[in-house]
């Protein structure tokens, strides 16, 4: 009695194991669909979705103009002090003083890619870029200035 039960159990185990192995065997012989990516080698074809949050960048047009008014809404929206806006006063031709962006400092090493600054910006001046290879040898290189040198605010953006 004990022996028959024992053999039955072993047989059942072998059967269930074979069932699983059949599936494994199926995949072993049908390797049509390749699901892994050879990452560093496929850089050229690698397309990330447009919404992918890689880093914050400032949009500049062909005239090297951006839409940032220096309102600091993004700085206030950021939960961890990643953004620091330094403003200056531009003197307009009529001699009026106007607040404008001087430097947009962005600490990539602090950024959590939460998208809150982009949501907060009233003029849509910043966006998320898809670049994700951020490793550098010195963390100071991660502190970036987002407004390009010599850039200025686009005409008509308030």
């Amino acid at each position: 009695m004990f022996i028959t039960n024992y053999i039955k159990e072993v047989w059942g185990a072998v059967k269930s194991l074979a069932k699983g192995m059949k599936l494994t065997g199926y995949y072993f012989t049908h390797h049509k669909e390749i699901i892994t990516q050879e990452y560093p080698d496929n850089r050229a074809e690698l397309v990330l979705p447009e919404r992918f949050r890689g880093e914050v960048v400032m949009k500049h047009d062909e005239h090297n103009e951006h839409a940032c008014t220096g309102c600091t809404a993004c700085e206030l929206a950021c939960p961890n002090g990643t953004i620091k806006i330094i403003t200056k006063f531009d003197i307009s031709p009529e001699g009026k003083k106007k607040k404008a962006l001087d430097t947009f400092i962005y600490h990539l090493e602090l950024c959590t890619m939460c998208n809150m600054c982009i949501e907060a910006c009233p003029t849509d001046a910043i966006k998320m870029a898809q670049n994700f290879e951020h490793s550098v040898y010195d963390r100071r290189q991660l502190t970036k200035k987002l407004n390009r040198p010599g850039s200025k605010i686009r005409e008509g953006v308030e």
Binding site: S16, K19, L23, I35, L48, P49, R51, R53, C114, M116
Partner: protein, 371 residues
């Protein structure tokens, strides 16, 4: 008798499992007291990944704080954000547009599937089967792709915000979810074929780590752990939120109370989540995806509580407001902490080899326990 290193006064062997142990899936430190191979006592030592999220939240505004909660139970990040968003909405008395509600429930269920899949792969790996991990990650990748496209992130989403969702769904969303549902249905059967039906696997799970319904209640366990002992604990059914009331799905109950029952609850929940997605994918109402809210949110003075069902059980968000722009106090009732507290009861008296099975079916996420 000379006292050996590692034994206590009674001659029991005291060993450390973790904090760097592959089966604890994170920095959980268990001090296990053994008599021979039998477990006498398990003492979890916490705090290795404590980031004081609750305290951090007190200095963040109501719009900002929910992004941190993606980092609690990182496998249910959408659901954590959802709980926070709903708690704030409760205080503000904002009506969430129907479109946002449906999107929220859909991403919640996708998250639940992704979380259960990762658990399934890791669980099988704990018990010695390596292939299931790849099977699980193959399908989980599909969900991650959907998330990447719609939310922009793969793990720490911050997509559900007070008032609705951060952005409308991607045009491909419905198509992709549909093809995922179709694919996933056949894959669950494969999972069953590969692991569930395996006798060796069943023998390692059945009768291991048993917990009674009374103990589940007294330890405060929720989620699949409670439902495996026959305790009704699905918040989606008991305290329906968003559109769960109108949806057709079953609360999965098993009565075994052992590791295998907990395993089966999650496997059946996978099918249930797919069923929910099927009902919604073609019925996303048109309209706004976010309600109009003020730029600076201020909750009225008072206390607000909202609970949701994450992949691990009941997550409660408790906000005390003094009427300012930041919460006065926030408390998270995390499912993992309560489930872990039952581990000593579940595994004591069993064998050391079974501890991995008991712990695996509790589905512990350590950052959720430590916060």
């Amino acid at each position: 008798m000379v006292e050996e290193i590692g034994t206590n006064e009674e001659g029991e062997l005291v060993i450390n499992m973790g904090p760097q142990h592959p089966a604890t899936h994170g920095v959980l430190h268990l001090v296990v007291t053994l008599q021979g191979e039998t477990i006498k006592k398990i003492e979890p030592h916490l705090g290795y990944i404590h980031r004081s999220i609750e305290k951090m939240c007190e200095s963040l505004t109501y719009r900002q704080f929910s992004y941190v909660t993606s980092r609690m139970d990182y496998l249910s990040s959408h659901i954590n954000n959802h709980a926070c968003a709903m708690c704030v909405e409760k205080g503000l008395q904002v009506e969430v547009p129907p479109r946002a509600q449906v999107i929220r429930v859909m991403v919640d269920e996708l998250t639940r599937i992704a979380s259960h899949e990762l658990w399934w792969g890791a669980m099988a790996m704990d018990l010695g089967a390596f292939t299931p991990f790849f099977h699980a990650f193959r399908e989980r990748e599909n969900i991650n792709d959907i998330m990447e496209e719609t939310c922009g992130a793969r793990l720490t989403m911050n997509y559900i915000v007070p008032g609705g969702v951060m952005a409308d769904i991607h045009p491909n969303f419905q198509k992709r979810v549909k093809s995922f549902i179709e694919l996933f249905r056949s894959k669950i059967d494969e999972y069953d074929e590969l692991v569930t039906g395996n006798i060796i696997f069943q023998n390692r799970m059945k009768g291991v780590g048993w917990i009674s319904a009374e103990d589940v209640v007294s330890y405060g366990c929720t989620g699949p752990v409670a439902r495996a002992s026959g305790v009704h604990s699905d918040i989606r059914k008991l305290f329906p939120y968003e559109i769960y009331e109108k949806l057709q799905f079953n609360e999965i109950l098993e009565t075994g109370g052992d590791s295998f029952a907990r395993y089966m609850v999650r496997m059946r929940e996978l099918r249930e989540s797919v069923h929910i997605l099927e009902q919604l994918v073609d019925n996303i109402p048109e309209g706004e995806f976010q309600a109009k809210t003020k730029a600076v949110l201020k909750l009225p003075k008072g206390e607000f509580y909202q609970r949701v069902e994450t992949a691990r059980g009941e997550l409660g968000v408790y906000i005390v407001s003094e009427g300012a722009t930041t919460p006065y106090r926030i408390k998270f009732r995390s499912p993992g902490f309560a489930n872990l507290s039952a581990l000593d009861h579940i595994a004591a008296g069993g064998k050391l080899g079974d501890l991995v099975a008991s712990m695996g079916t509790l589905d512990l996420v350590i950052p959720d326990i430590d916060r």
